[in-house]
């Protein structure tokens, strides 16, 4: 060990990335208008605003149950349809089941789907079908394909090929191979991913409600816009309870169905 080890040279390797990072931070802070002054006054304003929320309007509580149920139901139906469609797309996108041209087509579709945020999809669907829970449900279904399609396709590509060969050897056609060879192998993972996605769908259905998909998100957003803050606080409490319960339930169920390599 000599003196050179403590010179600037030792840190030069880190200096460049760090200075680039700092430059980017300063640049984007300027673009976004981030300021300490704004944050300070914002904290004071936000704190004062929280005072307006209390106490929650308990009379509005029964009115919130229906929309909350609607949010859950939208997410549930979207998960059902989404998982089914994702399975179809994943089977078409898996290298060991599908034909090469079908595979690239399906993969491309899944990739495009994944790069469209659900909220943008719902904007387009609302323009086509009008307001209501159906566009929200369809948007969540399409969102499922983007995420689950890729995960399922990867799961199918990892399955044990020996089973498939055995089934093929006794004369099964493509449909039978899929039903008796592929699906039983990926089923635990499908269920685990589906529950994970259901959790995401619940959160998203709250968000989508605000752009016109109905449910508790709509109640929350409209109460905020009408300055009915007590009512908004009630909706907030219901939402938090909803998300919390669903998260616990899904976590518990996923722990029961333990799968190797499953999402946490």
């Amino acid at each position: 060990m000599n003196l050179q080890d403590f010179s600037l040279r030792r840190y030069r390797k880190r200096l460049l990335p760090l200075s680039i990072l700092l430059l980017l931070v300063i640049l984007s802070a300027r673009v976004c208008g981030v300021s300490g002054e704004g944050l300070r006054s914002g904290i004071i304003k936000g704190y004062a605003f929280l005072g307006h929320l209390f106490p929650p309007d308990w009379a509005a509580f029964p009115e919130m149950i229906g929309p909350a149920f609607e949010s859950v139901v939208i997410a549930l139906l979207a998960t059902f349809f989404g998982v089914f469609l994702s399975l179809c797309f994943a089977l078409a996108a898996a290298a060991n089941i599908s034909y090469p041209w079908l595979r690239s087509l399906s993969r491309a579709f899944i990739a495009i789907e994944r790069s469209l945020p659900e909220i943008i999809i719902v904007l387009i669907l609302v323009a086509a079908f009008g307001l209501g829970p159906v566009p929200g449900m369809l948007a969540l279904t399409l969102g499922c394909i983007g995420m689950l399609g890729k995960l399922f396709a990867d799961a199918i590509e990892e399955i044990d090929i020996v089973t498939i060969e055995a089934i093929e050897a006794v004369g099964a056609n493509k449909g039978q191979v899929i039903v008796f060879g592929v699906l039983p192998q990926i089923m635990p993972r499908v269920i685990s991913y589906a529950m994970f996605r259901f959790e995401i769908n619940i959160r998203l259905s709250v968000l989508l409600g605000a752009v016109g998909a109905g449910g508790i998100g709509y109640e929350l957003d409209s109460a905020f816009n009408l300055l009915q803050y007590h009512r908004a606080f009630t909706a907030l409490i219901v939402t938090l309870l909803l998300v919390f319960i669903i998260e616990r339930l899904s976590g518990y169920l996923r722990k029961k169905i333990k799968v190797e390599g499953a999402l946490k």
Binding site: A29, G33, K45, I119, I120, L123, P133, L207
Partner: protein, 265 residues
């Protein structure tokens, strides 16, 4: 699995499958009726989608260079996602060190930080953004704060688990030659978990870009707001062009982040 599942007679197996199938289809039908959702409508009313697509085509790409604000909004969205990811990730790392059992000796602090992280995870994005828009006003700053909070919620728990799963032997070795707790965290645990943290940062940026586009609609500005406005005033060709821009942006980021992540891990 430890105990192999008992072998069932095919008749029992089929009956079980049939029950699950019937229950599922009953649930789906029930919910569809409740939501007034008729799958056939998708086909009979498909002409609405066709009309919309007809109105959108061809995309008006000239808006990208005639309207100077578009490029600025793309920059705003990117900057929002970047700052939010960096700030949120950094706070998440700090909180993870406070919540992990091998770096934080005080149980009370651990429980408090864990509760805070759990609370942050269940607060919906919608609520956070509405609150921040009221607190700091419309604009990307509210978006940055929202993304920061969500990122802390998503990654706090993950980072805590990563720290707790770090190898104990190096930490003990350093501790036994007289290192302080701070030094143990700095020289033994941080080098072990840093690559996975950076990989997670890249992943988070990927996700946060989508969130940033979505947040634009709720008043955080950026490309999401431009898209929303174009849809609202029925300038569909402009909207399609903006849609293509945001899709390309997300796809590029995803490819880039995948590439960088593979290099790091």
């Amino acid at each position: 699995m430890k105990n192999p599942s008992p072998i069932l007679l095919p008749s029992v197996r089929y009956r079980r499958r049939a029950t699950v199938f019937v229950l599922l289809s009953l649930a789906i039908t029930g919910i569809s009726i409740y939501l007034n959702f008729n799958p056939l409508l998708l086909f009979t009313e498909f002409h609405y989608v066709r009309d919309l697509i007809g109105e959108m085509l061809p995309p008006n790409f000239s808006i990208l260079w005639t309207n100077k604000t578009i490029l600025g909004s793309v920059g705003q969205t990117l900057a929002m996602a970047f700052l939010g990811t960096l700030a949120g990730g950094t706070i998440a790392i700090c909180m993870a060190f406070l919540a992990a059992s091998n770096t934080m000796p005080l149980k009370l602090v651990r429980i408090f930080v864990r509760a805070l992280l759990a609370l942050e995870r269940i607060i919906p994005v919608l609520v956070t953004v509405l609150l921040f828009v009221i607190a700091v006003g419309l604009g990307p700053f509210a978006g940055v704060l929202t993304i920061t909070v969500t990122t802390v919620g998503t990654f706090g728990k993950l980072f805590t688990e990563a720290i707790e799963n770090a190898e104990h032997a190096p930490a003990e070795a350093i501790f036994s030659v007289g290192a302080t707790r701070w030094q143990v965290a700095h020289f033994s645990i941080l080098p072990q978990v840093l690559p996975s943290f950076i990989a997670n940062f890249l992943y988070a940026f990927d996700i946060n870009l989508r969130v940033a586009i979505g947040l634009g609609i709720f008043g955080a500005g950026g490309i999401g707001l431009q898209l929303y406005m174009a849809m609202k005033v029925l300038h569909y060709p402009d909207a399609l062009a903006l849609l293509c821009v945001s899709t390309a942006l997300i796809m590029l980021t995803e490819k880039l982040s995948d590439h960088l992540r593979k290099k790091i891990l």
